[in-house]
Symmetry: C2
Subunit: 300 residues, 2 copies
Amino acid sequence: MNVTILGNNSALPAYGRHPTAQAVEVNGEIILIDCGESTQVQMQKYGIKWRRLNHILISHLHGDHYFGLPGLLNSMSLQGRIQPLHLYAPAPLLPILDMIMQVADSELAYPLHYHQLPEGDAILEDNPAFNITCFPVVHRIACHGFVITQKSSGRKLLLDKCSEYNIPQTFYNQLKQGQDYSAADGTIIANNLVTLDGPPAKRYAYCADTLYSETYLPFIKNVDLLYHESTYLHENADKAILRFHSTTVQAAEMAKLANVGQLLIGHFSSRYKELDAFEAEAGAIFPGVHVTVEGTSYEV
Amino acid sequence: MNVTILGNNSALPAYGRHPTAQAVEVNGEIILIDCGESTQVQMQKYGIKWRRLNHILISHLHGDHYFGLPGLLNSMSLQGRIQPLHLYAPAPLLPILDMIMQVADSELAYPLHYHQLPEGDAILEDNPAFNITCFPVVHRIACHGFVITQKSSGRKLLLDKCSEYNIPQTFYNQLKQGQDYSAADGTIIANNLVTLDGPPAKRYAYCADTLYSETYLPFIKNVDLLYHESTYLHENADKAILRFHSTTVQAAEMAKLANVGQLLIGHFSSRYKELDAFEAEAGAIFPGVHVTVEGTSYEV
């Protein structure tokens, strides 16, 4: 599981930085979080294939988080996509997309399943490979964060032991899921004789655009990797409050409070050409911080 | 007067080429024609300043011609624009823009004057520096081409003659506009004694997305520079008809028939990585052809 940053800037593209978009790869699938203008170009540039993309999450309806969506949806259609796509977004996006298709006298060539984000938190998707939940953050308009949990690949097999007990390979998947084995002679081989605990599930939390607030702390506690916006350096904490955004110090404090493994920061204001001070300020509070770089993939 | 190409590809961005956008510079002002996704990034890249941009023309409502517009409008607002902007576009764009602003709970910081394109041809703008007209072309949905005419800077003064007849410099502007001069003693100095014809007005015609059709020929006759789309090489003339587009050969035939000075072609299908064949095919019919390159400015 990893996160590739496609856009790490706030609303104004600047210094080669683009508005928000992230591609989360989990068990071979891509989940796109937000889709600022030029996301399809960034996906091409960084080798993110739409054929592996089946879920798009839109945090809120400020343009820098979705103006790239209509173009991406159209382009996949033109490129022959037929596989269904699941879109999770605030309710008012649907009529906008409908009007855009209608005035173009066009239809997508694939089924687009629209899932409206609820007011509060919810499970959006739950399948054998991963689940996606959403939770409210605090912004000028309704805005959600997301947690993506990679499901464990199951218990770890002790292959020597499996051979020793003559367990056929066709039963290995059941072993991984914790089942005991019944031999032909009736002997029961307890699962814990031939397996160990598998690796723990990995979790990535994305905090979208938000004012620093402990209201969303319970949803991001102990995740392996947290993305928290850091639009401003801390000297502009007043601007952050005014515009419902966060600073370096606030992002780092939140990471510490939530006891996360690592921290990504982004959504940088276009007032900053250089980002060195972001690393210094956040790192002083939470050493496991990464000032995101477009095109870079971060392991969860 | 010149035209800078910001996007020369058709709907799918490919090989570093972007969807349609062109910046026409005329007497110091910028007129933006179409605004595909990433136009604001392309403007930054090629030094097109929004402070000189007061008119945006949208030919039709296929996304590759306007998906960059909401982002550009927002960005100018965030950057402190207060000067009014004139937008000429098909009627159904306005409710889309309204909804986008409404769901973001935002307003532009500057007046946006929306001018709905008519069904047929019309004068859209007429000021001392230039005028803009529109005319219908033939596409799957309503689509317009545009002609931008740079007004002549007036008659050319013969400075030696002006001195000889003792005409004060304060009257030079009237001379340029063709007026005779009345001296204090009642003598009339005929304008043509002290001036020559000025340079002719320059005209640029943009043919948007269109099927080859002589219906729009009258509107583009004798222009100095014609942009005509050429989505396909001529071997794909059947595809061009099916999708209401044109080929190299058709663009060049139209340029010849219309007796234009020079021809720009663009809106290339993403099926073509290399564009050499476009130059060869169109150039065989109309030698004054330029296969457009993004970032390049073409003199009208």
